[in-house]
């Protein structure tokens, strides 16, 4: 019972790491980036290549995946995405879905279509008993990393100067610019952070979610559910939504395997009926 709860939490945490970048770009920058999963996939492939071909340690791969995807994010933001900030949402969706298909085809071409496997360091594989509960070590690792991330992100957004600048830039770009805030730099950095988090999530998820060229399409639905249920105006919203969905998914599959795969969607429908603007969104908020 508690093992199921723990598995659910770990799974939710993993969803959160990948989806939080999407929540940032969607909620704070008001940009619909469906190609988010492609960044996660790229992060995963970076890890696979580094670990399997060059023998880089797993712990080192995680920050590398984050940084590499952040850099890619900045480059794409500067060259492609920024042109679409003021475009309609439909244009943004079409553009980013196009990117997804290109990424799928590119990965297929260079890496092949098969599942990629990584080998975790021995201290992360296997399972330990903590207070009589069987706990997968890797899942524990994910949970800890994610918890640290949530706190860090929340602090960064609410307590730092950059956080205030970002919120100002989102609320009213023109006024923020008038106050001397470099809005385009702020957006570029935010986008980089979002992409980097996706890369990190992809790297960490490769072991549990699997990694093949269809990754961005396969998991797009999950990320979108997390963001819609959680709302996009806070970090805590998607966080709790991811936890809720993770636990519901795992528990549903455990207790009622016949319909387990649908539980996550049922939860989404119920949540959206009850709170159409997301878990914590204010009425009328973005």
């Amino acid at each position: 019972m508690l093992t199921i709860l723990f598995d659910g939490i770990a799974y939710g945490m993993l969803l959160f790491i990948i989806a939080v970048g999407l929540a940032i770009t969607l909620g704070l920058m008001n940009f619909i980036n469906l190609a988010h999963g492609a960044f996660a996939m790229a992060g995963g492939y970076i890890t696979v290549v580094l670990m399997n071909r060059y023998g880089v340690s797993f712990y080192l791969c995680l920050p590398i995946a984050f940084l590499a995807m952040a850099v890619v994010g900045v480059v794409l933001e500067r060259t492609l995405y920024r042109r679409l900030y003021s475009a309609s949402h439909l244009d943004q969706v079409l553009f980013s879905v196009g990117l997804v298909f290109m990424s799928v085809a590119a990965v297929q071409y260079f890496m092949g279509g098969q599942q990629q496997l990584i080998h975790l360091p021995p201290e992360l594989s296997g399972r330990t008993e903590i207070f009589g509960i069987g706990v997968g070590r890797y899942r524990l690792f994910i949970t800890i990393v994610c918890a640290v991330l949530v706190v860090a992100l929340q602090l960064a957004l609410t307590k730092t100067r950059f956080g205030s600048q970002l919120r100002a830039a989102v609320d009213d770009g023109r006024v923020a610019r008038g106050l001397g805030i470099n809005v385009s730099t702020v957006f570029a950095l935010t986008f980089a952070a979002g992409s980097g988090l996706a890369g990190l999530g992809g790297a960490m998820g490769a072991e549990i979610l699997g990694l093949d060229p269809n990754f961005p399409l396969k998991f797009m639905v999950y990320f979108l559910i997390v963001v819609t249920v959680g709302g996009t105006s806070t970090i805590t919203g998607p966080f709790l939504a991811a936890l809720l969905l993770g636990i519901a998914d795992v528990a549903g599959k455990y207790y009622v395997p016949e319909i387990g795969a649908f539980v996550i969607y049922a939860v989404m429908v119920i949540m959206l009926v009850l709170r159409p603007h997301g878990l914590f969104a204010r009425e009328g908020g973005r």
């Binding site: 279509g113 496997l117 387990g260």
Partner: protein, 392 residues
Amino acid sequence: MITRRMLIAAAGLAASALAGAPTFAQETVKVGLIVPMTGPFASTGRQVEAGARTYMAMHGDTVAGKKIELILRDDAGTADQTRRIAQELVVNDGVSVLAGFGLTPLALAVAPVIGQAKIPAIITSAATSSITEQSDYYVRSSFTLPQAAVPVATWATENDIKRVVTLVSDYGPGIDAETWFTKEFTAKGGEIVEAVRVPLQNPDFAPYLQRVRDADPDAIFVFLPSGVGSLFMKQFADRGLADAGIKLIATGDVTDDDILNDMGKPALGAITGQHYSTAHDSPENKAYVEAYKAAYPDMRPNFMSVGGYDAMHLVYAALEKTGGDATGDALIEAMKGLSWTSPRGPVSIDPETREIIQNIYMREVKEVDGELYNVEFATYEAVKDPAKTSDQ
């Protein structure tokens, strides 16, 4: 006027030249190989192609005075493409035999085409039992899931496994495997504690595995497509099911030779039943693996590749038998009842069902010379597709 007459004469000449062309083309027999070379099932296509080309490299490209030409086409794993490509191959390229078909729906898609063109279609991969009943022109060189699942069940009952949880992917082949394993296992006195079906697009096995663990069976019987299978193996080991004394028994798809080595330690000790292992100990297989590795050093021949290899053998042997007559009906008649020694062991084509009859080997994943292999330790000889024999 003269010019016009000359034009007509020229046209007539051209027409007679065209009409003469087919007799000239008879000297080559074209085999259309349709497999997924891109998309999620690309590894199947690559293996089948490699197996077929290895056969041609080993046996030359002429048989009974005919030159064999292999035309490779990619259907990317979508059924409407398979059918369109099959039509093109038949109409434009004039192929005498179609082969390939990575998945059940892809194989089924060509049934109307081969029925009209009256040419044989050799199934090198798709494993749902019912396909060959859809047209008299299907021949199978791969295997059917019931064929692999039933011996696994027999072996389990003979080896003190009494309570089993089945876990399969929720689609055609998975349900085939579950049905036939259960049928055989319960008939021999075993008990199925629970039957779990996992969605095909399943991100995380954790809840299912926990459920299996809590049911505490003697063994878990698994069928999953090969890529997903490797993820499963890892989570199986991580969750400590092996330590809890639960054996893993499966059809060979889960420990696919192509990726087995990448799975690492978690795969060790898994027991599977299938018709081919790269480690199969026979002179035929040694020669095959050697020729294969020479052409494709980065790959390891798996059960899909041997399907491609034997498909080519069927074409060659049938042509030899007909003395070079490449018409569809002659070929399909010649294929029925053929028997030969394949790299997988002795095989034959059942004249009634056009299914392959072959040995199913029980194997255990072991480390041999620093690499992981499916090492065979028991054999069920000349297994027919049980889904068809028991109906009679």
